[in-house]
Amino acid sequence: MEVLALALIAFVIMAFQAYIFRNFSLKNVEYKCEFSINEAHEGDEIYLIETVYNGKILPVPWLKVELNTSRWLDFAETRSVLAQDNRYVTSSFFLKSHQKIIRKWKLKCIKRGIFHIDRICLVTGDLLGNTVDSIGVDVNANILVYPQTIELEKTFTPVNYLQGDIIVKRWIIEDPFIVSGIREYTASDPMNKIHWTSVARTGRLMVRREDYTSQHGLSVFLNIQSIENEYFESVYKYYIELGIKAAATIFDTALRSGIPARFATNGTTSDGNRQMIFTNEASGRSHIQSLLSILAKLELRRIKDFEDFLRDVYKDITNSEIILITSYLTEPICGLLRQMKIRNNRIRILITNTNIDSSILPTDIDAYMLKGEVLNG
C-alpha cells in the first residue's frame, strides 16, 4: 500500500542518513586548539584559537567540542559552566564540505598559574539524534600566566625613611656624580677626571675625588604564610597573592636595570616536589624569566615555618639588597633580619597586611606597609 511505501521510504532515508553520519561524519575532520601566545600576564587579554577543518564532501551538520580548562581563564561567558576550579565550555560548529573554521575566543587571564588544555572531545551525530559519535583529540595547549606587576610606590607606604621611599634602587660601581672633594693630580689619573674649575682657580692640576660604592645584588624573600601559626594552605590568600605581585614587580625592575636577582620562599611550586625555593643570584632575561615562572607556579602552602627557613639560609647571603615580603612579623624574624644586616646586607620589609601591630615594626630597618590603617599596640 502507498502509505506503507511512504513509511518505508521515510524509514530507509532516515536509516541511511544515520548510517552515513555515524560512519563518515568524523572522517577527515581535523581539529586544533592553541593559545595565541605561550606566556602572558595576569589581566592580559589573549585569544584561544580553535581550528576545525572538514576535508570531505559530506558536511558535518553539527559538531560539539567539549573543552575543559581552568576557571581562571575567563572566556565563553555565556557558554561556560564553572565547577570548582574547572571551566567547561561547549563550542559548536557546523561544517560544510571542505570548509575550515578558525574560531577566536577572547580570553582574559584572571590569575597567575600554568594552565593546560590537554584533551578535548569531539561529538557529532546524525540529523535526528539516532546516533552519536565521539572521539578524543589531544591538543596540548599550554599557557603560563605570570603575576601582574603593581606600582610599588603607590601600593606601599614607607614606615621608616632610613633609605628613602624608592623601594628598588640602582647601585653602580662608581658614581662620578657623587663628588666628595678634589685632590692633587697624580700620574695615574685620566685626563677626564681633571676638575678644570679648580685648575683655573688654583693654577695647579686638580682632579675630582669620587665616592666608592659597592655593587649589590637583589634577594627577594617571600613568606608564604599569611599568619604565624599556619600549617597547611595559606589562610589569607589575598596577602600572599599581593606579595607575589610585588615580587614580580621587583624582578621586572631588576631586569630593566640589569640587577642580579634571587628568589627565596618557604613554599613550593606545583611541579616542585615539595622542594622549597632558594635560587642563585643572577641577571639576564632567562634567569628572571625562570623566577617569574616560579612565581606563576607557586602554591599557597608552606613547606617549612618561615622563621626556621630564614634561620637556615640567612648566613648564605652577603653584600646584597634583601627585600622581605611578608604579611606578619615576629621578634625572631626581626632578629634574623638584623643578623643579615650585620653581614653587609641592606634590608627592606614589604608588609602586605594593613592590620599589623605597629609595635612589632623594627625601627632600625626600612619598612613599607600596604597603604591603609596601622593599629597601634
Binding site: 500500500m1 511512504l6 542518513q17 557558554r79 557546523f94 570548509q99 578558525i102 575566543w105 539524534g129
Partner: protein, 476 residues
C-alpha cells in the same frame, strides 16, 4: 533566533503537526456522516481553534500559572464549543450536505442538530488540545508517543479510505496532511536532537547557535524533499515526460505546417498536383501512418531531450538546493520577524555571538575547482577582443595571476602576505620551474612595482615562459 523565541516557535510548529493528525478525526467522520469535507474553510477554522486555545490559555495564565487559572483555561474550551455550536445553529439552514447513508437515514432537523453537536465537539477537542499544549514543554508536544499516535491515525485513515471507497477522493487531502506532518516531525526531531546534544543545565539555556539550527533545518528539508520525490517518482517522471513529450510533438507539427505553407507559395511545384497548392498529397498514406511518422520523430527527439534534461537537472541539483535553502532562510527570517512583532518578543541577548569571532574558509580540492573554471573562462573571454585590446602590462599581470592560481592548485600553500619572491621560493618545490618562473617573476616585478612597460621581445619571452610554467604546473 534567540532561545526564547525559538522555544515559542517550536511549540507552535509542533502544534501544527498535532493539528494535522488530529484533524483527521474530524475530517473523515464529517465526510462519512455529512458528505462534506469542510474544505479550506474547515482547515482554517480548525487551525484558528487550536491556536485560539493556545493563545487564550496564555493570556489567562500570564500573571500566574496556578490551578485556578489552568482550570479556567480548560473550561474556556466549553465556551469555544458553545460559540461554534451557536454559529452552526445560526447558519444551519444555509448548510448543504452530501448524499450519505447517514443523512438518508435521518430527517433534516436531526441532521442539522447532529451537525451542530458534531462541530461543537470538534471545536472543543481542538481548542482543548491547544490549551493543553500551552502547559506542556515543547519537547513533550511532539513526543515519541504523539508521533506514533499520529502515524497510527494517518495509517488508519488511509486504510479506512481504501475500504470506504466513497471517500477515496480525500486521499490527496490526507496525503497533504501527511507530508506536512512528516516535514514538521523531521524538523522538530532534528532541533530537539541539537538541543539535547548541546544543552547544559536547563532547557532554556540551550546554546545552539542560530546558524547551526538554520543549516540543520535546511538539510532536514532536503531530506524531506527527497522522501517526497522518491515517493512520487512515478508521477513526477510521468509529468516530466508529458511536458517534454508535448514540446517536440508541437515543434514537429509546426514544422510540417510551415512546410505545407511554403509549398503552397512556390510556383509550379511538383507537377499538376503541386500547382494546385494546398497541403502535400498525403492521400496515399493511410492516416495511421501519418501519425506514426510524427510519433517516431517525437519519440527520438523526446528521448534525447529527456536524457539531456535529466543529466542537466542532476548536475544542477546542488545549486538548486542551495538556492532553495537561501529562499527558505529568507522566508524563515521574515516569519521570525513577524512572530517577534506579533508576540512582542524582546530581542534575546543570545541573538548575537559575542564570545568569539569565526573566520570561515573554503578549501576546495585541487581539480575542477570553481576558481579554475572561472580562470579558464576569463582566458577564453580574453581570447576575444578584450585580449587584443589589452596592453602588455595588463596581459602580463593577468598571466602572472593565473600562474599563482596554478601554483596554489598544485598544492603549495600561498598566503596573501607572500611576496613574489616568496611565492617563487615556495614554488621551487616543483622541479623545472626555476628558470621560467624566475624570469616571469622578474618581469612582473618590473611592470607591477616599477611601472616599466615591457618591450616586444620581453613580452614574447614572458609568454613563452608563462606557457612552459603552466605546462609544468598542470602536470602536478
Amino acid at each position: 533566533m534567540g532561545s526564547k523565541l525559538w522555544n515559542i516557535f517550536k511549540k507552535e510548529i509542533s502544534l501544527v503537526a498535532v493539528f494535522t493528525f488530529l484533524y483527521q478525526l474530524i475530517l473523515l467522520p464529517r465526510t462519512v456522516l455529512f458528505g462534506v469535507t469542510g474544505g479550506v474553510t474547515g482547515v482554517f477554522l480548525g487551525i484558528v481553534l487550536i491556536f485560539a486555545g493556545y493563545i487564550i490559555a496564555g493570556y489567562i495564565t500570564k500573571k500566574e500559572q496556578n490551578f485556578r487559572s489552568m482550570l479556567l483555561s480548560y473550561l474556556s474550551a466549553i465556551a469555544a464549543a458553545v460559540i461554534i455550536a451557536i454559529i452552526y445553529w445560526i447558519i444551519a439552514p444555509e448548510l448543504k450536505y452530501g448524499g450519505t447513508q447517514f443523512i438518508n437515514m435521518l430527517n433534516w432537523k436531526s441532521v442539522q442538530s447532529l451537525k451542530i453537536v458534531f462541530e461543537g465537539l470538534g471545536a472543543f477537542i481542538l481548542y482543548f488540545v491547544g490549551v493543553r499544549t500551552r502547559f506542556l514543554e515543547h519537547d513533550l508536544i511532539l513526543s515519541r508517543n504523539k508521533l506514533i499516535f499520529g502515524a497510527i491515525i494517518f495509517i488508519s485513515a488511509i486504510i479506512f479510505m481504501q475500504y470506504y471507497s466513497s471517500i477515496e477522493y480525500l486521499k490527496r487531502t490526507v496525503y497533504t496532511f501527511v507530508y506536512v506532518f512528516i516535514a514538521i516531525s523531521l524538523l522538530i526531531k532534528n532541533q530537539q536532537n541539537l538541543d539535547n546534544a548541546f544543552i547544559k543545565k536547563h532547557i532554556d539555556l540551550s546554546t545552539v547557535p542560530k546558524n547551526i539550527r538554520n543549516y540543520n533545518s535546511i538539510i532536514v528539508m532536503v531530506l524531506f524533499a527527497l522522501i517526497i520525490i522518491i515517493f512520487n517518482i512515478k508521477e513526477l517522471v510521468d509529468f516530466i515526460v508529458y511536458i517534454i513529450g508535448n514540446i517536440p510533438r508541437t515543434i514537429v507539427l509546426f514544422m510540417l505546417k510551415a512546410l505545407e505553407l511554403l509549398s503552397k507559395l512556390l510556383p509550379g511545384g511538383e507537377g499538376e498536383g503541386g500547382s494546385q497548392g494546398g497541403s502535400p498529397d498525403m492521400s496515399g498514406l493511410p492516416e495511421g501512418e501519418e501519425n506514426a511518422i510524427v510519433a517516431i520523430i517525437t519519440k527520438i527527439i523526446f528521448g534525447i531531450i529527456l536524457v539531456a534534461a535529466g543529466a542537466f537537472a542532476i548536475w544542477k541539483l546542488p545549486a538548486l538546493f542551495a538556492a532553495i535553502g537561501r529562499k527558505i532562510k529568507k522566508l524563515g527570517n521574515f516569519i521570525a520577524e513577524l512572530f517577534k512583532k506579533l508576540f512582542l518578543i524582546q530581542k534575546d541577548s543570545l541573538d548575537k555571538e559575542i564570545d568569539y569571532i569565526d573566520e570561515v574558509i573554503t578549501i576546495k580540492p585541487t581539480s575542477h575547482s570553481k576558481e579554475e573554471r572561472e580562470s579558464k573562462k576569463k582566458i577564453q573571454r580574453m581570447g576575444g577582443r578584450l585580449w587584443k585590446n589589452a596592453d602588455y602590462m595588463e596581459k602580463i599581470r593577468f598571466m602572472y595571476k593565473l600562474t599563482v592560481n596554478y601554483i596554489i592548485k598544485s598544492g603549495i600553500d600561498i598566503k596573501r602576505s607572500d611576496t613574489t619572491k616568496e611565492i617563487y621560493q615556495k614554488a621551487l618545490e616543483i622541479d623545472g620551474l626555476q628558470e621560467s618562473l624566475g624570469f616571469a617573476t622578474d618581469i612582473y616585478n618590473k611592470i607591477r612595482y616599477g611601472g616599466k612597460v615591457p618591450d616586444d621581445a620581453e613580452y614574447i619571452k614572458f609568454e613563452e615562459k608563462f606557457s612552459s610554467t603552466v605546462d609544468i604546473l598542470k602536470k602536478k
